[in-house]
């Protein structure tokens, strides 16, 4: 009940300011477009690097909207209410990360194959790209949520958040990109996708508690 309320409230807040989401997606497009412009239009080369570039750009784009994830509630006192509420803070953390995923990870999973086509990826690789982003971005939202909660109220929190979140996101990046690359060579991608799913599930099972602990010590 409370989970749904908080989740929908966050979505409603983003709905009123769609520019916040649009900026993240626009950054993703601009960042990925820089690579062909910088490296040159040779299609073979672009197809080789597409998996890594798209996944890395997705990582950076996810990081962009994270520092506002808890900061707005921290500043206007809604976080204090959540801390005092009689229902688990872990569910609140999960609700906010889920809302972040819906407005960031999900659109990225839809948008990335379009950019991937411009990089010269073939049809099967595009499908796997979308699948890996769909499966992997929940982990990114959770890890980013942890970094956001840890850096609430810190100096230079934006850069610090990226410094904390990106090393934790590296396994997701490695398996996401390698799944797409094995598709291109014709080998099976299911192993990589399964490990990606495992990472997402482990994040789901452990990080809400870490985020709640970080929110509690931020609220003290």
């Amino acid at each position: 009940m409370g989970f749904g309320a908080l989740f929908l409230r966050d979505l409603r807040l983003v709905w009123r300011r769609p520019g916040d989401v649009a900026v993240v997606l626009a950054f993703f497009v601009v960042a990925t477009v820089l690579f062909p412009l910088g490296i040159g239009p040779e299609t073979n080369l672009l197809a080789r690097i597409a998996a890594g570039v798209l996944w890395a750009a997705a990582l950076f784009a996810s990081m962009l909207s994270l520092d506002r994830l808890f900061a707005a509630d921290y500043e206007d006192g809604a976080l204090d209410l959540l801390l005092l509420a009689p229902w688990p803070l872990e569910l609140a953390a999960l609700a906010k990360c889920a809302a972040h995923w819906v407005v960031t990870g999900l659109p990225l999973a839809v948008l990335a194959p379009l950019i991937g086509g411009a990089f010269g990826l073939d049809g099967a690789s595009l499908v796997v790209l979308a699948l890996t982003l769909l499966v992997g971005t929940p982990a990114l939202s959770l890890i980013g949520g942890l970094a956001a909660a840890l850096t609430l109220g810190a100096r230079r929190s934006g850069a610090l958040l990226a410094l904390l979140a990106l090393p934790l996101c590296v396994p997701t990046l490695i398996f996401g990109a390698s799944a797409i690359e094995t598709t291109a060579t014709g080998e099976g991608f299911w192993v990589h996708l399964a490990i990606l799913g495992a990472l997402a599930l482990v994040s789901l099972a452990t990080l809400p508690w870490a985020i709640a602990a970080a929110l509690r010590q931020a609220g003290e």
């Binding site: 840890l150 610090l160 410094l163 904390l164 090393p167 970080a214 010590q217 931020a218």
Partner: protein, 239 residues
């Protein structure tokens, strides 16, 4: 465990540390003299690698201690979060830069060793990449604990980060088993026993002990400084 409780009082810890440190520094210095002479002059050159194998005597202990240091950070973090141990936060602040330096030494000596051995300064295999991540986790811990005006906030946030990042340490240890890596697989901590020749094993173990003593001495000295710094901060904030 009673000893740890005895030292939980920062003032008592400081008196203990001031008594112990001079002797500890002396022992560390002696161990270094013996260890360096043993590893540089007495230990034989490797039949394949020649004299470059001597980098191992610095590279391997610094790697082990960097990983152990991060586990110490995680234990101190857990101690702070669960029991609110008063000294854990200060010791964690003291340990992180020391551990980060050991990690940097390992990365640099490994890179210098890799050039003659593998023909390259760096390769993106599982062990090197996961160890580089460990170095980044250290940097993140250092940055986070110092990012707040209220130091206690920083300590608790860094404690949570240390506990979450500790998963990386077993990944580093087993990375050479789980992936095809260029880095050499385990030669010491194996089920079959060490595969390294005793003439090289013993100076390696001695240097491991020496660098461990250095680690402890540095952490004790830095913890004393952190106690003083925290006292100063409390006095400043009272105005």
């Amino acid at each position: 465990m009673a000893d740890l409780h005895f030292l939980a009082n920062p003032a008592r810890f400081r008196r203990f540390s001031q008594r112990v440190l001079p002797a500890l520094w002396l022992i560390t210095a002696l161990a270094f003299v013996i260890g360096l002479y043993w590893s540089l002059a007495i230990a034989p050159p490797d039949y394949q690698q020649g004299d470059t194998v001597r980098i191992m005597f610095l590279h391997v202990p610094s790697a082990s201690l960097a990983m152990a240091g991060y586990l110490l950070l995680a234990a101190l973090g857990a101690s702070l979060l669960v029991w609110r141990h008063p000294l854990a936060a200060l010791m964690a602040r003291a340990t992180a830069p020391v551990g980060a330096t050991y990690a940097a030494v390992c990365l640099i000596t490994g890179s210098l060793w890799g050039r003659p051995m593998w023909g390259t300064y760096w390769v993106w295999d599982a062990r090197l990449t996961s160890f580089l991540l460990l170095f980044f986790f250290y940097l993140g811990h250092i940055a986070l604990s110092r990012a707040y005006d209220d130091s206690e906030r920083g300590d608790r946030a860094a404690a949570i980060l240390a506990v979450v990042g500790a998963i990386n340490v077993p990944i580093i240890k087993f990375s050479v088993d789980w992936w095809n890596t260029l880095h050499q697989p385990a030669s010491i901590m194996r089920l079959d026993g060490p595969s390294i020749d005793p003439l090289l094993l013993w100076p390696l173990l001695w240097m491991m002990g020496t660098l461990a003593l250095l680690f402890v001495a540095l952490v004790l000295m830095r913890t004393e400084t952190e106690i003083d710094r925290r006292r100063l901060e409390i006095v400043e904030n009272q105005d």
